[in-house]
């Protein structure tokens, strides 16, 4: 049965936020892939194609914006929804996320039930 499970790639530098998101997704029946930074995420995407990506915006090294741009430049990933996660709620950043063309934006601290509902909607479940 595990073959039917949808896979979600989580890109997040904060270890506790990563653990929370991964445990939440697994508890709700998803497979997860986890990457601590943008470089690792782009590397992972070469070998596997997740159904969705949860992408933290504020990361050391490559920011979520840069990672998103690189993903969008590659036609192979056209079908993958990318949801931005950010602990910054400044309006400037939210506007920038909306403009950058992410599928959606979810603020941190996460509303765990809300996030699961949103993911299921996007995956048509």
């Amino acid at each position: 049965m595990s073959g039917d499970k949808r896979t979600i790639l989580v890109v997040e530098d904060d270890p506790l936020s990563m653990r929370l998101t991964v445990d939440l997704l697994q508890a709700n029946g998803f497979n997860t892939l986890d990457c601590r930074d943008g470089t690792a995420a782009l590397e992972t995407l070469k070998a596997s194609s997740p159904d969705m990506i949860l992408l933290d915006i504020n990361m050391p090294g490559m920011s979520g914006f840069e990672v998103h741009e690189k993903i969008r430049q590659d036609r192979r990933f056209d079908g993958i929804k990318v949801i931005a996660l950010s602990a910054s709620v400044m309006k400037e950043e939210e506007d920038r996320i909306r403009k950058a063309g992410f599928s959606d934006f979810v603020p941190k601290p996460l509303d765990t039930k809300g996030l699961v509902r949103k993911i299921k909607e996007y995956l048509g479940e």
């Binding site: 929370l20 939440l24 601290p109 765990t112």
Partner: protein, 373 residues
């Protein structure tokens, strides 16, 4: 007679408490009064016949402005320099600022032959001006530093809160396995406190944005009736539980408004939950909206504990909460009311309240223009 007059004029110019000089169309000094001698440190015999450039005017001022070109232009077009402020230099090398009045002296054919210049020292004024500008820039950069500090702080606080709220939420929901009653109770407190801390951070950020003049309204059209009805559903469960009846009265003229929906919702919700907080079981809470003097006037009233005269000054103060068994039971952030009033004021409305005293209930009002912005 004519000689007398000329002597009088000469006396006047010599003894005036202003710099008075004349120069020809090449910029060479032809007259230099006593005040100018004392001020610049040049004797008449040192300066007469010499050019102003190199004596009382440096080739360029400290900001790099070409004064040689300015003098050249001035002697040919004195009328455009009738009132002019520029930097000058004393014999000692000290730079000064002088406010000049320049006037062309014409020959019989009306051609300019000389310029009469009368000047007053404004160095101190200029220095004060520069200091004010510096202070203003310092204040602006401090304000910017404060804003970016708050933005960073808010981000840094949210990251650990993500773990606190998120993990306690998973435990509370049973995702991490079954809990006994006490564990459920305790983890509930962790979750509620985390949420409380989050609203505090949000409110502080909003208040500081308002103080910095950076809070912008996101104006849009929406139906105020719908907003009021939706807000009531948020408190209806708690009202039912405590036997509190909710009453609504919206007049026909109240409908679509142009305002910041999210902020108006926050205000209405805040007033309703405050009313709930201070109304004992079995009481009544109501919300009314009607047109009044070209604005929408909304009133949230309750039959609760009321506000004593001695507490009335605290209602819109930051971090002041009126102490009562009710407020202790449902602690807020202490920022809800001041923030609500500021949101309304940003729209161009007003907020106030009436209470006849202890046990007599409270009526909160706010007005909102039909079309803000």
């Amino acid at each position: 007679m004519r000689d007398d007059l000329e002597i009088q004029y000469r006396e006047l110019m010599e003894n005036a408490n202003s710099i008075i000089l004349r120069m020809d169309t090449k910029g060479n000094v032809t007259y230099f009064n006593r005040f100018a001698e004392n001020f610049f440190g040049f004797r008449q015999e040192d300066i007469l016949g010499k050019n102003v450039i190199g004596t009382i005017v440096a080739p360029a001022d400290l900001s790099g402005k070409d004064l040689r070109a300015m003098i050249d232009d001035l002697v040919h077009h004195p009328s455009t320099y009738m009132s002019n402020e520029n930097e000058n230099i004393l014999r000692s090398g000290k730079r000064v600022w002088i406010s000049w009045t320049n006037k062309a002296i014409l020959d019989e054919d009306g051609r300019p032959v000389e310029v009469l210049a009368i000047g007053n020292d404004i160095t101190k004024l200029k220095e004060a001006e520069a200091q004010i500008l510096k202070a203003k820039e310092a204040a602006e950069s401090a304000n910017k530093a404060k804003s970016s500090f708050l933005a960073n702080m808010s981000h840094e606080l949210r990251t650990p809160l993500n773990a606190i709220i998120g993990f306690s939420e998973l435990m509370k929901d049973g995702t991490a396995g079954p809990l006994n009653e006490k564990q459920k109770e305790y983890i509930g407190y962790v979750w509620e406190s985390g949420k409380h801390l989050l609203s505090l951070i949000n409110d502080i950020l909003d208040l500081s944005k308002i103080e910095a003049g950076k809070m912008e309204l996101e104006l849009g059209e929406f139906d105020l009736r719908d907003l009021i009805k939706k807000s009531l559903t948020f408190v209806s469960e708690r009202a039912n539980k405590h036997g509190i009846s909710l009453l609504t009265e919206i007049a026909g003229g109240v409908g679509t408004v142009r305002a910041d929906e999210r902020k108006v919702k926050q205000v209405v919700f805040n007033l309703l939950s405050n009313a709930m907080k201070f109304t004992p079981d079995g009481g009544k809470i109501g919300i009314e909206a009607k047109e009044d003097a070209g604005m929408v006037k909304v009133c949230v009233w309750d039959t609760g504990i009321g506000i004593e005269d001695s507490d009335k000054g605290k209602v819109f103060s930051e971090f002041e909460q009126i102490d009562s068994e009710y407020s202790r039971k449902y602690a807020g952030t202490g920022l809800g009311m001041p923030l609500s009033r500021k949101f309304i004021e940003l729209h161009g409305g007003k907020m106030w309240f009436e209470s006849e005293g202890k046990g007599k209930g409270t009526r909160f009002y706010f007005t909102l223009p039909f079309r803000a912005g």
